[in-house]
């Protein structure tokens, strides 16, 4: 999966590239608006990650031009300005999704999966870890072929973790993403829900799908290997 990341801030581009590469994406970087315009018109990408504030042409005008020429490649906008304001402008211009800074790279990965799936109808909706399979479209969870019933919160929590197997999530990160809490990370909430989720998806204590990283947070075991 080939992704073009257009971001002029080198350090941001670096960690994005690293994170995406780890998840199996092929990443090209570009740090100038004019150059980005050239590349997206002449090379094929599966998705484009586009910062709005760029030297040369800005992201929105690149996107407008790109869509005007009839290209349908999914584009995710990165924005640092007011999220609510730019969301509307960006989506009107033809972006498939947007992400406000600061963002976690797994958030970007999740959205990339979503937009690529949307554009190619590819069946990437099935996520797997160990004997657990999660269908993010039908919101069905199966453990070794047996359906598991989850509450909507538990499902969101599981989906979030299982999207990036092996990646460590801090409790605040989980709280922010799954609950939308933006304050006072009282991490009890996460711990209690993780315990409930574990009881349902991996009752076998010696072989947990969700692993606790002491003093940090949680992660989904990658390929069944700790």
């Amino acid at each position: 999966m080939k992704i073009l990341v257009v971001e002029d801030e080198k350090q941001i581009a670096d960690f994005v590239k690293k994170g995406l590469t780890e998840q199996g994406f092929l990443v090209e970087l570009c740090d100038h608006g004019d150059e980005a315009m050239e590349r997206i018109l002449h090379q094929a990408y599966d998705a484009i990650v586009l910062d709005i504030m760029l030297p040369g042409r800005d992201g929105l005008s690149i996107l407008r031009q790109f869509r005007k020429k009839g290209h349908t490649t999914p584009v995710i906008l990165l924005t640092a300005r007011s999220e609510l304001d730019e969301r509307i402008e960006g989506l009107n211009t033809g972006a498939d999704d947007y992400l406000t800074k600061p963002f976690y790279v797994e958030e970007l990965i999740a959205r990339l999966h979503a937009v690529i799936r949307r554009s190619s109808d590819e069946q990437m909706s099935l996520l797997q870890a160990g004997d657990l399979s999660v269908n993010v479209l039908t919101r069905e969870v199966k453990r070794a072929g047996t359906p598991v019933k989850l509450t909507s919160r538990e499902f969101n929590l599981l989906e979030y973790l299982i999207r990036s197997p092996g990646r460590v999530f801090t409790r605040t990160q989980i709280l922010e993403h799954v609950w939308g809490y933006d304050f006072d990370p009282n991490t009890n909430l996460v711990d209690v829900h993780i315990q409930r989720l574990r009881k349902k998806v991996s009752p076998d204590k010696d072989n947990p799908v969700i692993e606790t990283i002491r003093g940090v947070g949680y992660r989904v075991v990658k390929d069944g290997v700790i």
């Binding site: 801030e9 960690f15 007011s82 790279v105 939308g180 006072d184 002491r214």
Partner: protein, 475 residues
């Protein structure tokens, strides 16, 4: 107070001034008129008549006089003269045809007595019904009495007086009405100015008042006002843009910080002290993110640019979810709930959730050990209300107004224990405002603090009906 109205005062003033002028003029005119047509002229006419004929002797002469008198007044209904002649003893020796008998006894009383003076006397006498003006000219042989009926004169004066009063009233009405209309027209542009000004709020400071609403004076006022608005807009935009820019400028380094820390966290050995440290640093980054996000939202709210993407949702379900969280977050608190089901509202779920979370967060933080939290949700007058009450040491009276101020905390000493950076309540209020809703600190029993938020109810039926009717139109 009606007298505080400029219009009323203008009207009252002009009415009283013109009333005074009219009154003075009327008084003067009355006197002049009275002098011209009334007493003096009549008296001298009577005197002349008695003088001219005082020497007439005998019936013939008196009959001639009567004829002359009738001839002189035939064409003038307002003047009725008659006369009588009385001898020294007071006997009536001649009376003209129209002599009112009622006057005779009084006449005698006047003429009787030797001490009565010779010569001319003029006075008024009643003949029982109507007043008469009498001129008595007495000589040694007899007295000639000429009488003029005052009735027509008085009637004439009555008419004049009535006319005066009518003119007076009409004039005052005209002046009053006219001045009210003038004042109304003069004030009208001011009213329009007030209306136009009322529509300008902090959210649309770029608006200006239109010119040409009234005369030159109003235009000047509009000019000055518009200039003031411009200065206000400039500094307001400056302030808003400053916080927006600041938030923006902070976000890039924050993205790098968070991204790199996350990267390092992933690479550190699982559960190592290094990874734990990195985790704590990420939490601090999270705290910074929260502050910046809230400041940005507040600055958007100030500029009236919080845009919400509302969708119909059940407020009771959202609150129930949050109550579930409370039971995990603060298991030592006793939570009670009375929620009406199916409380539909049209709201931006993420923002609304944040507003309620902020309230609940406070209800937990400012609670007393082993305290209570009570949730109530009910419909009220086309709106949905959610009341969140908690036991508390209470908010000091003087602080009740300030709880929605930015960076406000009830007790500064709590600032470390409490993590909400004091923006939660003001943000919650702005979020409610953006939803055309309200948030306020309600009166609660001693030992309780209660916040109430209100949103317009979303009426499913109303929407269904319109959908149906439009479907009908199509078919």
């Amino acid at each position: 107070m009606i007298f505080r109205s400029f219009r009323t005062r203008i009207m009252m003033l002009s009415v009283s001034v013109s009333g005074l002028v009219l009154l003075g003029f009327g008084w003067w005119a009355w006197h002049v008129l009275h002098g011209l047509t009334g007493g003096h002229r009549l008296d001298s006419e009577l005197a002349i008549l008695t003088h001219m004929h005082q020497s007439a002797q005998g019936h013939r002469a008196w009959e001639d006089f009567e004829l002359a008198l009738e001839g002189a007044t035939r064409n003038d209904a307002s003047r009725r003269f008659s006369f009588a002649v009385v001898d020294r003893e007071g006997h009536l020796i001649y009376q003209s045809h129209f002599w009112p008998d009622g006057l005779t006894p009084a006449l005698r009383a006047h003429i009787d007595g030797a001490e009565a003076a010779m010569g001319l006397r003029v006075y008024t006498e009643m003949d029982g019904k109507a007043p008469w003006r009498l001129a008595v000219n007495r000589n040694p042989e007899h007295s000639l009495v000429v009488a003029a009926d005052l009735g027509p004169y008085l009637a004439q004066f009555d008419r004049i007086r009535l006319t005066f009063l009518l003119v007076f009233a009409v004039a005052l009405l005209c002046v009053g009405g006219g001045s009210w209309i003038l004042a109304w027209r003069a004030i009208r542009p001011l009213d329009r100015l007030v209306e136009a000004t009322e529509t300008i709020t902090a959210q649309d400071l770029e608006r200006r008042l239109p010119q040409g609403m009234g005369g030159r004076e109003i235009d000047q006022l509009v000019d000055v006002f518009n200039e003031m608005l411009e200065r206000l807009e400039r500094s307001f935009n400056h302030a808003t843009r400053f916080s927006a820019d600041a938030a923006h400028e902070l976000k890039t380094p924050l993205t790098i910080l968070q991204g790199q820390l996350d990267q390092a966290l992933q690479e550190a050995p699982a559960g190592s002290p290094l990874q734990q440290n990195l985790g704590r640093l990420l939490e601090e980054v999270q705290r910074l993110k929260v502050i910046i996000r809230r400041l940005l939202l507040l600055s958007l709210a100030d500029a009236g640019r919080i845009r919400i993407s509302p969708a119909p949702m059940r407020l009771d379900e959202l609150v129930e979810q949050i109550i579930d969280d409370v039971e995990i977050l603060a298991p030592e608190l006793i939570v009670t709930q009375e929620l009406e089901a199916d409380a539909w509202v049209n709201a931006d779920e993420a923002l609304l959730q944040q507003a309620i979370q902020n309230l609940v967060n406070n209800a937990i933080k400012y609670n007393i050990p082993g305290g209570k939290i009570r949730f109530q949700l009910f419909r009220h007058d086309g709106a949905v209300r959610c009341a969140i009450a908690n036991t508390s040491e209470g908010i000091p009276e003087e602080d009740r107004q300030r709880v929605f101020h930015r960076f406000y905390r009830v007790d500064p000493a709590h600032s470390r224990k409490v993590d909400g950076v004091g923006l939660g309540l003001s943000l919650a209020r702005e979020i409610m405002r953006a939803h055309s809703g309200k948030l306020w600190l309600a009166d609660a029993p001693e030992g309780w603090v209660m916040f109430v938020l209100e949103l317009p109810a979303w009426d499913e039926k109303a929407v269904d009906v319109t959908a149906e009717s439009s479907a009908e139109i199509k078919t």
